[in-house]
């Protein structure tokens, strides 16, 4: 089946099997491998991307469901050669170790903050219930998101 999906501002039309997952569409069909796969039960959040302005788990979306949608992956977050403030915050605050959960963690965080600019530590911790990190103990991820929120213009 033919699907047309705009990914990071570029329109792609591909002939895919209906069972193709959005993760495989971005990773295999258009070669954007930044979106990682960490589980098979929609728990870990490593595959989080933005679809029509919302954070979604790309492992649980069929490419045919995303037909006509506008998708942003981690590769499309920086703009004009400038890192997104959340990317910078993760770097500055050492919010990652092995880096595998990081793309999903960052994509998820951006939406958490956009939807709640004055987000509290408690809200961040609960907001990350769909993103698992095994390395950091979350401590520096929380600090990164707080710093990212400040840089994105919210908070105090």
């Amino acid at each position: 089946m033919k699907v047309s999906i705009t990914v990071n501002g570029k329109a792609y039309t591909k002939d895919v099997e209906p069972r193709t997952l959005l993760t495989d569409f971005v990773r295999e069909h258009i070669g954007l491998t930044g979106t990682n796969i960490g589980c098979d039960t929609s728990q870990c959040g490593a595959c989080t991307v933005h679809m029509d302005g919302m954070a979604v788990k790309a492992c649980t979306v069929l490419a045919v469901q995303a037909d006509g949608s506008d998708v942003t992956t981690i590769e499309g977050l920086a703009s004009g050669g400038e890192l997104h403030p959340m990317q910078n915050a993760f770097w500055n605050e050492h919010g990652l170790q092995c880096g595998y959960c990081t793309p999903g963690m960052i994509m998820s965080s951006v939406k958490l903050v956009e939807n709640n600019p004055d987000i509290t530590e408690d809200e961040i911790r609960h907001g990350l219930e769909g993103n698992i990190c095994r390395c950091t103990g979350y401590q520096n991820i929380i600090r990164s998101i707080q710093a990212g929120a400040a840089a994105m213009g919210g908070g105090d």
Binding site: T33, G34, W91, G99, T102, R125, I132, I141
Partner: protein, 787 residues
């Protein structure tokens, strides 16, 4: 004399990760690649009667199906065991099972197809006819008479029995001391759950007969040796193993895996690149798991609060086969640590390693040392309670005094350095311990169930002096190799046999080399994880990268520096002993005559032009080092936590967590602190939530993240982390290692805190994980009917 070591430099590896450009194995795509999927056993124990792959082979897009018979016909060898304790009985494990399967997930056949979707479809079409057999999953039950045998040739499923310590003195202590407490405990099995599932890609060059394997390994050089010598049998100089970015390991990416054989074997057979990527569910039944001890422990002590003896008997479940270093974990990494931070005159331990119809068990963050710390700190808390002593006071009383280092324990180790009383003092201060006790008592007065836990832990890190490892059963050496290549233009390429999969070596190793050479870190590249580039290496595990791998780089860098100084002396016409090297700038000058100067960069250029070298000096500026440590290092820690248990539901909430660790000198404080916080979370997972559950038939009931409770962000408060520093005296960096300390300490800290909360109800011990259900049942005084 350090400009960079000790600084929290931002990580140089991060730009690629935060932009989705990590080079993980699963991201690799080669032209004409086939995709492998693995047919795994649904039974824990069964005879394989027949395998019919005809329907799978008929499916459009399926390239091949192979079974264990194909593998044996090609002479592929069984997986070896790299840690051979005396009288070890090693079961045969081929990369694909033949005749019998021995755990759920055991490999039965492999499919290669044109897409991973088709390969998955084909698995469903392979018809395997099994006769299910009875299974045994418990470490101790496996050794009872009449238990189903995992391997017919291994009697009672006992693979090894290992003892260490002063048994007679220990038994005398039991008789002669004022008190003896006995504790039966279970250290439950864990699933490592590195976020990146394992993956392999292999490419065969039929013209040169070279094989390249990309694999998610913590130690690619070691894997190459094992594959060449034992399993795949491609000659070592024709086998290149690459571990690019690896998404976490925690020990589960240390062993040599069957898939590392199957993927290149199929690539050669079919003469096409092959890729296999594990799913999370597959990882649960094929990655090595951790812990799984059934233990009886005793501690003897006197009314004055002094511990007089500690002894344990532990049944360690190794799973259905022995993984690469499985016998090491419950022996030399466990019993040797039983005296902890304390001066205990008599220590004795016995480990019985058994086999069962479960997934194999190997190193998991801490590996043996968390098991030792957990039981010791449980005993310590119970002893203090029995004497009515404060836990902090009891620990300080028994701690090895700071002036007694090096300290020889009764269980083989010689602790290098430490100030344990100082450690407890700092933790007490950071926690505001006295106020915390008052806070707890006030909460209790309100009817809340609140407790404070303490743990003081030690770890033997930085494995290992090769001769010691060899005497204890190690098959290989445990040095680390490093190369410093100072280029003509003054830039540096560093090759290390260590492997980073989250630890940040690309940053910290550059800091080390920068200080040795006086060259800024941005001019230094750290290269790792490719056997075609890295001469040799032993990899990353046991918190060894800084102390062993980092030390190798120091030694190599000093050779380079010495050569540069020698060359400078020659060119400046001064005596070598009069030369001064400025480690901050890399300038080299004549003592007392700073204008007679050159630099390490200039000397690099001169070494390559070779126009004016001292007699006998070879051109070039590249040096290797193999660093074999003189001893283990001994990181130590004092952690304190306060928790509240929900009276109604049994759920535990961590209110406060304070960690003080002595990991020796610190290369990058930001990274060290983050290693501790990550470790704490993993250890808390074991204390409260994580559990690997097999039913009586050997079915894994916690095989997905829907049932295996990996900690999430909302399970923790902000940790308060600080450190003390007693440098390790025997490595040039004075470092001790930081990767595992947080995990080792946090499990007993949290367990003790919960048990303290329940102490007013007369509950003295419950096994981890301290789940809501278990705590609720205990508080109600009812048996816990399922867990």
């Amino acid at each position: 004399m350090s400009k960079y070591v000790g600084q929290s430099l931002k990580r140089v590896e991060d730009p690629r990760f935060i932009q989705g450009k990590g080079k993980y194995v699963a991201n690799l795509s080669l032209p004409g690649m086939g995709y492998m999927a693995i047919k795994r056993s649904p039974y824990a124990h069964a005879t394989i009667n027949s395998i019919d792959a005809s329907e799978a082979l008929a499916l459009d897009g399926v390239i091949a199906v192979f079974t264990g018979e194909d593998l044996l016909a090609d002479g592929i060898g069984p997986l070896p065991c790299g840690w051979q304790v005396p009288d070890l009985k090693i079961p045969v494990q081929n990369a694909i099972a033949t005749e019998k399967v021995r755990h759920v997930g055991d490999r039965v056949a492999v499919v290669v197809a044109e897409s991973p979707y088709i390969a998955a479809d084909a698995l469903d079409l392979i018809d395997v006819d099994y006769d299910p057999l009875p299974a045994v999953t418990d470490a101790k039950a496996a050794a009872q008479d009449g238990a189903p045998l995992v391997h017919d040739e291994i009697e009672n499923n006992v693979s090894y029995v290992w003892e260490l310590g002063t048994k007679d003195e220990y038994e005398a202590a039991l008789n002669d001391s004022d008190h003896v407490i006995e504790l039966d405990l279970i250290n439950q099995r864990l699933i490592a759950t590195a976020m990146e599932p394992r993956a392999c890609v292999a490419q065969w060059n039929s013209f040169t007969e070279d094989m390249t394997l990309w694999t998610t390994s913590q130690n690619p050089n070691l894997i190459r040796v094992v594959m060449s010598a034992f399993t795949l049998q491609v000659p070592e100089h024709k086998l290149r193993v690459i571990s690019p970015d690896v998404g976490g390991g925690f020990g589960s990416k240390l062993p040599h895996y069957p898939e590392e054989i199957l993927v290149p074997w199929a690539a050669r057979k079919l003469d096409m690149p092959i890729k296999w990527v594990s799913t999370r569910s597959e990882a649960a039944v094929s990655d090595t798991q951790g812990r799984d001890h059934v233990t009886t422990a005793k501690m003897a002590f006197n009314n004055d609060g002094k511990i007089t003896g500690i002894g344990v008997e532990t049944w360690a479940n190794n799973g259905a086969y022995l993984s690469l270093v499985a016998p090491l974990i419950p022996t030399a990494f466990y019993i040797t640590l039983l005296s902890g931070l304390y001066k205990v005159p008599a220590v004795y331990g016995k480990a019985i390693g058994t086999l069962s119809h479960t997934v194999w068990v190997d190193a998991y963050r801490g590996a043996g040392r968390p098991e030792a710390s957990y039981l010791l700190e449980r005993l310590v808390m119970m002893a203090a309670q029995k004497l009515g002593m404060d836990g902090m006071e009891f620990r300080r009383l028994n701690a090895i005094p700071a002036d007694e280092f090096p300290y020889q324990t009764p269980v083989a180790l010689s602790y290098d350095s430490g100030n344990y009383a100082g450690l407890f003092d700092k933790a007490e201060e950071l926690a505001g311990y006295a106020d915390l006790l008052q806070e707890r008592d006030a909460a209790r007065a309100e009817g809340r169930v609140v407790g404070i836990g303490i743990a003081g832990c030690i770890e033997a890190s930085g494995p290992a002096p090769s001769a010691v490892a060899g005497a204890l059963g190690g098959v290989t050496g445990f040095w680390e190799a490093g190369t410093i290549r100072l280029h003509p233009t003054g830039k540096v390429t560093v090759l290390t046999g260590s492997h980073t999969h989250g630890q940040g070596h690309e940053t910290t190793f550059a800091q080390i080399v920068a200080d040795e050479l006086g060259i800024p870190p941005e001019d230094i590249d750290i290269v790792h994880g490719d056997t075609a580039v890295i001469t040799n290496g032993m990899g990353t595990y046991g918190s060894r990268s800084a102390s062993v791998g980092g030390s190798a780089l120091v030694v190599a860098a000093r050779k380079v520096r010495d050569k540069a100084i020698k060359l400078a002396a020659h060119q400046l016409e001064a005596a070598e002993e009069d030369m001064v090297f400025n480690q901050e700038t890399g300038d080299i000058y004549v003592n007392g005559a700073p204008d007679r100067a050159t630099s390490i960069g200039a000397m690099a250029f001169a070494a390559y032009t070779a126009h004016n070298l001292p007699e006998g000096m070879e051109p070039g500026m590249e040096e290797d080092a193999y660093y074999d440590p003189a001893n283990f290092t001994y990181p130590n820690s004092a952690h304190i936590a306060m928790v509240e248990v929900d009276k109604d539901t049994g759920e535990t909430k961590i209110l406060k967590y304070i960690a003080v660790d002595d990991v020796g000198n610190v290369i990058n404080p930001m990274i060290v602190e983050a290693q501790i916080s990550g470790g704490i979370a993993q250890g808390v997972g074991q204390a409260l939530w994580e559990n690997t559950v097999y039913d009586a038939d050997g079915q894994l009931l916690s095989g997905t993240l829907l049932d295996y409770a990996v900690p999430r962000a909302d399970g923790f408060p902000d940790f308060k982390i600080d450190r003390t520093i007693t440098p390790s005296p025997h490595n040039p960096l004075g470092v001790k290692g930081v990767g595992e300390m947080g995990t080792i300490a946090s499990t007993p800290t949290i367990a003790n805190a919960v048990m303290d909360a329940l102490e007013p109800m007369g509950i003295s011990h419950l096994d981890i994980p301290l789940t809501a259900q278990k705590l609720h049942g205990a508080m109600q005084g009812t048996a816990v009917s399922a867990d």
